[in-house]
């Protein structure tokens, strides 16, 4: 078992995860993106006559696919300047995003898994890889989503993108650091208290710290009068996409690392047998 073996498996699994995420995003998520854009376009027409909560957003080409938007039909046909048609955005563009993130994330998870093998108490490589994937999903995807959930096109002001991006990644970083700390604490307590107690303490500690961090960090609410059900459908689809991405990485990498370890162990056992003859 070496770094290369892990990385190759992670990249492969990441590619599969990207494909799965694309399939889920395309089938489950895209209908809601389309509906949000349709709502946005009808909304920006209405915003000219009635002031709304996010009127500044509506006034400055709400859905800034390209900040150069001047025309109301921006989303439908692509904006001036760097224009990418909706058809391209929801097929090749979406595929580019999910595949790139999938491969990169698969590689990163694999490298972390490589570092943790044999270092999480007596967990086997298969088990420690599963822990890395599960903690990774919780800390990197789930917790940030719960605090700063995905927003469909039409929600979110272009003027606050800097602050919102900052909050999101600060929260993600906190979550990651606390998640790693929780795993370290669980590993330390494992010998003294036993598995159940150690994991429970670490998990409760993670949740408590993250709830506190969530309470302290600013809340973003730029939903305005976007329909609540449509918002929920979009967010559910977005979370489903993230789950698909991480599930394929987690299950796939756990399976491949487990098999790798079995091969390595059986080769070692055969060598030992041969040496003893």
């Amino acid at each position: 078992m070496n770094a290369r073996a892990f990385l190759v498996r992670g990249l492969l699994v990441g590619l599969l995860a990207g494909i799965a995420a694309f399939a889920v995003a395309y089938m489950v998520g895209e209908p809601h993106v389309e509906r949000a854009i349709a709502l946005e376009e009808s909304g920006s027409a209405a915003a000219a006559t009635e002031p709304t909560d996010h009127s500044h957003a509506a006034g400055t080409a709400p859905h800034s696919h390209g900040d150069s938007t001047g025309d109301g039909a921006g989303d439908g046909a692509g904006d001036g300047g760097a224009s990418v048609s909706r058809t391209t955005q929801r097929t090749w563009g979406l595929a580019t995003g999910t595949l790139a993130v999938g491969v990169a994330l698969g590689g990163l998870v694999a490298l972390v898994a490589a570092a943790t093998v044999g270092r999480l108490g007596r967990l086997t490589p298969r088990q420690s890889t599963a822990v890395v994937a599960l903690v990774g999903f919780t800390a990197v995807a789930l917790a940030p989503f719960l605090k700063y959930p995905a927003t469909p096109p039409a929600v979110g002001s272009g003027e606050t993108i800097g602050a919102r991006t900052g909050y999101y990644f600060v929260f993600l970083l906190i979550s990651l650091v606390v998640g790693v700390a929780a795993v370290v604490v669980a590993t330390r307590l494992w010998e003294r208290l036993g598995a159940f107690e150690a994991v429970t303490i670490a998990a409760v500690g993670y949740v408590a710290v993250m709830v506190l961090a969530g309470e302290l960090m600013p809340t973003v609410n730029e939903v305005g009068d976007f329909p609540a059900d449509e918002l929920w459908f979009f967010r559910r689809a977005s979370l489903t996409t993230l789950v698909a991405l991480w599930a394929v990485i987690g299950v796939g990498l756990t399976a491949l690392v487990g098999r790798l370890h079995e091969q390595v162990a059986s080769v070692a056992a055969r060598r030992e047998l041969a040496a003893s003859l």
Binding site: H65, G81, S83, L94, V101
Partner: protein
């Protein structure tokens, strides 16, 4: 008999990868992965490295559906 001695050894001794061996891989590919994730999820939103909107436009839907702040 030799098998009964071999099996427990492979069970107890879980292999580790020396951090010294892992470090260059982690540094290089970790940075590469983070750069890729940055360009897909964040670039030309809050921060624009090549100015413009081409990257943002291209990965727009992925950014929304993967839950990153887009605009």
């Amino acid at each position: 008999m030799s098998q009964s001695t071999a099996a427990p050894v492979s069970e107890v001794a879980i292999p580790t990868i020396p951090l010294r061996e892992l470090a260059p891989w982690a540094l290089f590919f970790g940075l590469l992965g983070l750069v890729v994730i940055f360009f897909v999820t964040t670039d030309q939103g809050a921060v624009s490295l090549p100015a413009g909107t081409a990257i943002h436009e291209w990965v727009h839907d992925g950014r929304h559906l993967l839950g990153f702040p887009c605009h």
